[in-house]
Symmetry: C2
Subunit: 397 residues, 2 copies
Amino acid sequence: MVRTRATVRDLRRQNRSVLLTALFLDGPLSRQQLSSTTGLSAATASTITGELLDEGLLVEAGSVESDGGRPRVLLRVNPAFGHVIGVDVGETGIKVELFDLAMTRLSTVDHPLAVVEPVAVCELIAAGVGEVLSAAGVAASSVLGVGVGVPGTVEQGTSAVVHAQTIGWDAVPLEKMLRAAGVEPPLYVENGAKTQGQAEMWFGAGRGTRHAVIALVGSGVGVAVVTGGVVHRGATSNAGEWGHTTIAYGGRRCRCGARGCLEAYAGAEAMLGRYREALRRDVPRLDEQSALEDLLSSRSAVARRVVDESVGYLGAGIANLVNLFNPELIVLGGWAGLALGARKLDEIVAATADHALRHPFGQVRLELGRTGPDAVAVGAATLPVAVLLETGAHHRD
Amino acid sequence: MVRTRATVRDLRRQNRSVLLTALFLDGPLSRQQLSSTTGLSAATASTITGELLDEGLLVEAGSVESDGGRPRVLLRVNPAFGHVIGVDVGETGIKVELFDLAMTRLSTVDHPLAVVEPVAVCELIAAGVGEVLSAAGVAASSVLGVGVGVPGTVEQGTSAVVHAQTIGWDAVPLEKMLRAAGVEPPLYVENGAKTQGQAEMWFGAGRGTRHAVIALVGSGVGVAVVTGGVVHRGATSNAGEWGHTTIAYGGRRCRCGARGCLEAYAGAEAMLGRYREALRRDVPRLDEQSALEDLLSSRSAVARRVVDESVGYLGAGIANLVNLFNPELIVLGGWAGLALGARKLDEIVAATADHALRHPFGQVRLELGRTGPDAVAVGAATLPVAVLLETGAHHRD
DNA sequence: GAGGCTTATTTTTAGGCGCGAACTAACCTC
DNA sequence: GAGGTTAGTTCGCGCCTAAAAATAAGCCTC
C-alpha cells in the first residue's frame, strides 16, 4: 500500500537511488548496462550518472571494449567519497572498524572490557572512532555515519534507547550518551543480530535473496528476518526474539524466566549447561567457545546425546521459521551455529524436515553463514551506507 | 530498499493512489482535507480529484460549512463505480457475496457441498457469480474483480495454484479452472486466513494499525501477519503456517505428521480430540461448533482441564508471535478463537504474558476479532479493491 | 442588500523530470 | 581514411507538482 504523496523531486531521488544501489551491489557497470538493468532510458542514466560523477559519488573505473564500437566506460561508487564506521558492542568488549564506501576495511580497534558499563562503553567508542580514523589517516569530516550493533533490543525513537538484559542495560539512552561522549557523525544504533543479518544479506550467503531468515546461534539465539531486502523490525524494533519462543511447552526454565524457550535448548550456553547437568559435574572452566568445541568433538555418549538433542530442538526451531515466514533461504550463523553446522548440517536439515510442512520446506535452502567474526561490525557499518543508497545521496531535501 | 526506476507517470499514479486510498478508508473528505492529510498541494489535490470525478471514480457527497468561508464540498469513492465479488471456499461449501465499492453487501449466495471437489466448486462459483449479480440487478460488466479465499496455500504464479491438504486439493490450478468455467472478471485467489486477516485490518479490530498479527483459530490454526498494511506472503505465499509450528517438542502427533504442533493442542479439532481422549469415550456426534460450545461451557473437571490446557498452549503460541513479530496488535479471530476468547480472554492474556518477553509484550494489545462469519468472503472481495487503490485506477499503463 | 471578510477551489505560471530522437564520440575493419 | 558499430550526450516534448494569483461561495456588518 502506498504511503505518501510524491513530488517531482522524489522521482529524481528514487532514480538516483536505483542507480547508486545497482552500482554499489553489482560492482562497476557501464551507463549502458545501468540503463538496461534499471529500466531507465539511456538519456536519464546518462544525466544522473553525470550528476553523481560531478558530486564525487562515482568515479570511472576503466573501460571495456565492445564489438567494434565505442568502448563502454565503467562506473563505480567512489570508495573515497566517504567512510563509514561500524561498532560491535559485545558482552566482553567493543570493536570499532573503519571502512571506505567500497566496504574495504581500513582499520580496526579492539577494546576488551571486563564490565560492559554504558558510560565506559561510550567513552571507549568515542576513543575508538578517533583511533581508527588516525590509524588510517582518514579525516573525521569524511565519515558519513557510525553504526553501532548492540546486544538486546533498540527502541528507535528520536534518539535510540537500548534494552539489553544480558549485559544489564535497562533503557540506556545510548545515542544521547554517545553524542555526549563526543561522537559527531550521524549515529545508527541497531540490534547486533540485525546488523549481522544485514552483513550476511549484502556480503554473505544472502546475496541476491529477497526472502531470507538469518538464524544466529551464539551463546544465545536470535534471528533476523529479511523481506524484500529489508530487515523486519516490528512495531518497536523488538522483532526476532526467536530464542524466547516456546518450543517445549512446560520444559526447561530459561534465563528469561519462561519455560521451554528455544534458547534453553539450542544456544551454546544451554548446550553446555545441559552437558554439565548430564555429567553431574562442572566441565573445566574454559571460555565458552573452546568448551563448545570440546563438547562437539567429544565422543562420549553423554556428549553425543546432548548434541543430538540440541540438533533436534534447533531443527524444530528452524522449522518454525520455515512455516511462519516461508523464506527462500535460511542462513545458519553465529559462532555456535557455525560450529554446530560445520559438523551436523545434514542432521539439522533432517530435523528441520521432520518439523516443517512439506511445501514450504521444499522451497527453502539451509546454508551456513559466510561472514566472519566481525559480521556485527560490518553490518553496523552498512547502516549509514543503506541510508546513503536509499536517499540516493540527494543533496537537497 | 527501492526496487525499480520511476517515471513521471508513476508520480501521477502514486498520487492518485494516495488520494483514492484516503477517500476509501477515511470516508468523505473535502479537497481541502485531502490536501492537508496527504501532503499534496491544494492545486494537485484539485486536479487529481477533478480527473477522478470525470472518470466516475468519485462523487460529491454534500458539503460542510466552514467558519464564514466557502463551504467544503465533500468527496467520496463512488459506490456505483464498480462492484467486487468475494468467494469463500470452505470445507463444507462455498459462499459468494457481491459488494459495491463502498463495500456494502448487495447479495449473497450459499452453496453447501458434501464433497469439495475442484470441478464442482468451480462450476458452483461460476453459477454463484451469476446469481449474486442478477439478484442485485448488477451488470456483469461492472465487476472489477472476483476474490477467492481458499483453505490451504496458494502458489501465485502466472495462474494461481492451490494446495489444500484438508480438502484433498493437491496442486489444483484453480484460476485456470475458474476461467474455463466461465468466470470472466479478473481473479484474485488467496489463502482464506489471509483474506480474513485483510478484512480484519480494513474493517475490524485492525483498523489503523500498521503492525498486526491476526490469529485465526478454527478447526485448525493459522495466522496472517500484516506489516505496514500488507499481508506477509513469504517467498511462495506459504507464510503464516502458525498451526504447524512446534510448541511441545516431541509432543502429540499432528495431522501434518509432525509432533508437538500448536494445532495439535489449540484448534477446535485438537481440543475436542483431547477431550474425547480424556473422557475415554466419544462425545455425542454434534457438529464441531456445538461440540466446542458444550466443551467450553461444561463444568466437569475434565472439560475444564482440557480447556485450561488449551488456553496455556494458545497463550504460548501467541507469545511466540509477539516475540518474533513484535506487533502492536494481536487479533484473536476464527470461530473457535472467538468462542474461547469470549470466555477466557484474560486467561489467554495471562498465558501469553507467561511466555512472552516483557518488553514486546508490554507494547502489544490482544483483541478479539470483530468481523463476522463471512470475513473470508469480505476479505476476498477486498483483493480487487486493494489493486484498484494501489494502482490509483490509472487508465493508461 | 452592498460591501467586506473568510475560506475553498480553480487557474495560471514556473521549474523539474524522464523519454525518444537526433547527434556526437570513440573504437574497429578493410 | 572511409564506412560500420556501439556508447554516450543533447535537445525538445509532454507530463508532473508547487506556488501564486484569481475566482467562487458562503457569512457578517452596517
